[in-house]
């Protein structure tokens, strides 16, 4: 009986073989090669890491990368939260419509959307022209090729990644629970902070994690909307490889990025474990 069960288990596991093969060849092996390069090119040892961490430019780029990722995460959550709530609350048809608008923007070409922001934000762009037209400003605002350009563009691109998990966790909240809190004596404010936000926590966390991690490794938007003075890590890696063929330093940077991502993911799993949807639910 147990033999039968275990042989069945193996049969089920064999279904994983194709994807393991695929990921092994096209993800794991290149990744390992990359990691190895970081300690072997041009010579064996941790030289690349020492060089990186001793360079103030690199530290600045690393700091900037985290700053951008943090700001984008905060703005995307702040803007995505009310949007997700509207999608959940609106009558069925309108909620779906709103969700489709979000999805449609996600499905449009990234490059097209990023260039659109360039058109909108540049000094002779639509936004500046309107603001100057109504006399709000005399000189065009510098909205692109700097930090604000990157933040605006990336926040917009990341919003769907917050809205989708957040909306999923909001739609599982029973509105009667909020009424129950209110009749227990909780003001609208208390209901929001003591009941609603904690119940949205799984959605906020997974949305924020996704945005933060994706932002750390984002290339296209920062490259187009950012400036030289606030380069992000992925741009640095590209520059090292394309301009200087410096594979060792590039690999070391990438390794640091991967390590940081793993640490953040670990923290996320730790924090997440006390929420109602985590794995300890059924214990």
């Amino acid at each position: 009986m147990s033999l039968l069960l275990s042989s069945r288990k193996w049969k089920d596991l064999s279904l994983l073989f194709p994807i393991c093969l695929f990921l092994g060849i096209f993800f794991l092996i290149p990744l390992v090669i990359l990691l190895i390069k970081s300690v072997t090119v041009p010579s064996f040892g941790l030289g690349n890491f020492y060089e990186l961490l001793a360079t103030s430019t690199y530290i600045k780029i690393l700091g900037n990368t985290f700053l951008v990722a943090t700001l984008v995460t905060v703005f995307a959550v702040l803007l995505g939260f009310p949007l997700a709530w509207c999608i959940t609350l609106f009558p069925k048809g309108w909620g779906r419509f709103l969700l489709n608008v979000v999805l449609l923007s996600m499905w449009t070409s990234l490059l097209a959307r990023t260039y659109s922001w360039l058109v909108l934000l540049q000094s002779s762009g639509v936004l500046n022209k309107i603001l100057m037209g109504i006399g709000l400003i005399d000189q065009p605002l510098e909205l692109v090729h700097n930090l604000s350009g990157v933040i605006i563009g990336m926040t917009y691109i990341m919003i769907p990644f917050v809205v989708l998990p957040l909306q999923a966790s909001m739609s599982t909240i029973d509105p009667m629970v909020l009424q129950a809190a209110s009749i227990c004596g909780a003001s609208a404010r208390s209901v929001f902070f003591k009941i609603f936000i904690p119940l949205c926590k799984p959605g906020i966390f997974s949305g924020a994690l996704m945005v933060f991690v994706m932002s750390l490794g984002y290339y296209v938007t920062p490259a187009l909307l950012g400036g030289v003075s606030n380069m992000m890590l992925p741009e640095f890696i590209v520059q090292q490889i394309q301009n200087f063929l410096n594979w060792g330093v590039a690999s070391a940077s990438a390794s640091i990025l991967i390590a940081v991502t793993l640490v953040i993911f670990y923290i996320y799993l730790k924090v997440q474990s006390d929420s109602p949807t985590s794995s300890n639910k059924g214990s």
């Binding site: 029973d174 009424q179 809190a181 009749i183 227990c184 004596g185 003591k194």
Partner: protein, 375 residues
């Protein structure tokens, strides 16, 4: 105390009205709820009972009318300031808090000192017999346990009024009856005013001191269960509560009517029945006695008894009782219910007579066909 209670109701609903567009959910109802009473709103779905409860809780705003608590208007008081406790059909516990914190929530909101808060929570946990479950999350409780937590959460801050919206509707029959008994005990011990909503008439009978029967946004019957059952104010209440036999007849005087070849007597009504009016007589099945022709000869008909000749159509054994359906000459079908241990089964096709006491006859001169045909 008693006189004071009857003079100053705890809650008063005055011409309370709620419209959704052109649909009237609650139609200008008036109701006085006394301190300490257990009142049930009974009605089918869409009768306006839950909407009325929601208005008392403050979740719905009345289109017009007044809700008074201690003679002060509640209309502009938000629900979190009404000091009312409420238990919901689907428990509505806070899934991210333990049982203890769920129950402590209303006290935490009121910033009750820690020691007092913990004592109150412990006391109420004991009252609902959940001491052993205090640290669990509500997701790990059974339906009955969840509802007990919900009741504890609603009682812990000692509200004057407890609203219950079909709280036992999602539980199975046995558990429901246990919790009904528990609830009655809690009501007796705490003396709290309870307004209870249900569509289950047995539950209403079992629990409440007074029942308000809702139909299409109006209260069509109000009184004790016994009162409403024995002398329903109208044909709808008669048909809605329990089983009933309706006989359509024509009045020949203020206390007599003609049915087939027989004269049926009924009590004089406060507004006298007009001669030649079509009226409806209602007799409960347990008040309708079936006698064989021999028995009928042996027991002469007394003055306060009515009698109709009929034929047995079918007798069904239900354990403690039999139900016997009989048909008269003109096709009027009547149902009789009698205790099985005193009687034996009557074969189908037997000619019999049915008798009932004049005092067990209710008379209605106005009704709608839909009132007496059960959906």
């Amino acid at each position: 105390m008693t006189t004071q209670q009857s003079s100053a109701p705890l809650v008063t609903l005055k011409l309370l009205n709620k419209e959704y567009g052109r649909f009237t959910a609650v139609n200008k109802i008036n109701l006085e709820i006394q301190q300490g009473e257990f009142l049930t709103f009974l009605g089918s779905s869409g009768s306006g009972k839950s909407t009325t409860l929601s208005m008392i809780a403050g979740f719905e705003t009345p289109t017009s009318g007044e809700i008074l608590l201690h003679n002060k208007s509640l209309i502009n008081v938000p629900s979190h300031k009404r000091g009312i406790g409420m238990v919901f059909q689907h428990y509505s516990l806070f899934p991210h808090m333990s049982v203890r914190d769920n129950i402590g929530f209303p006290l935490d909101i009121r910033k009750t000192p820690k020691a007092e808060r913990n004592k109150k929570v412990d006391d109420i946990l004991k009252l609902v017999q959940l001491e052993d479950f205090a640290e669990r999350p509500p997701t790990l409780l059974s339906g009955g346990q969840k509802q007990r937590v919900a009741i504890a959460r609603a009682l812990v801050y000692e509200p004057e009024i407890l609203l219950m919206d079909e709280p036992l509707g999602a539980l199975d029959k046995k558990l429901r009856e246990d919790l009904q008994d528990e609830l009655r005990q809690i009501h007796k011990r705490l003396g709290i005013t309870i307004i209870y909503v249900t569509h289950d008439q047995d539950e209403a009978m079992r629990l409440s001191e007074r029942i308000a029967i809702f139909k299409e946004g109006e209260i069509v019957g109000l009184g004790s269960g016994r009162n409403l059952y024995d002398s329903p104010p109208n044909a709808f209440v008669a048909s809605f509560l329990g089983n009933s036999n309706f006989i359509k007849v024509r009045a020949v005087s203020t206390s007599e009517a003609q049915f087939e070849q027989q004269t049926l007597k009924f009590r004089e009504q406060t507004t006298p029945i007009k001669t030649q009016a079509d009226i409806l007589l209602m007799v409960r099945p347990e008040n309708l006695h079936v006698l064989s022709e021999q028995q009928a000869e042996q027991e002469p008909l007394t003055v306060e008894m009515n009698q109709i000749a009929a034929t047995v159509e079918e007798t069904v054994f239900l354990g403690e009782s039999y139900t016997c359906s009989v048909v008269t000459e003109s096709g009027q079908r009547l149902m009789s219910k009698y205790i099985s241990k005193d009687h034996c089964e009557i074969a189908a096709g037997t000619d019999i007579v049915v008798r009932w006491n004049v005092n067990h006859t209710n008379v209605y001169d106005q009704w709608k066909q839909s009132d007496i045909t059960k959906a």
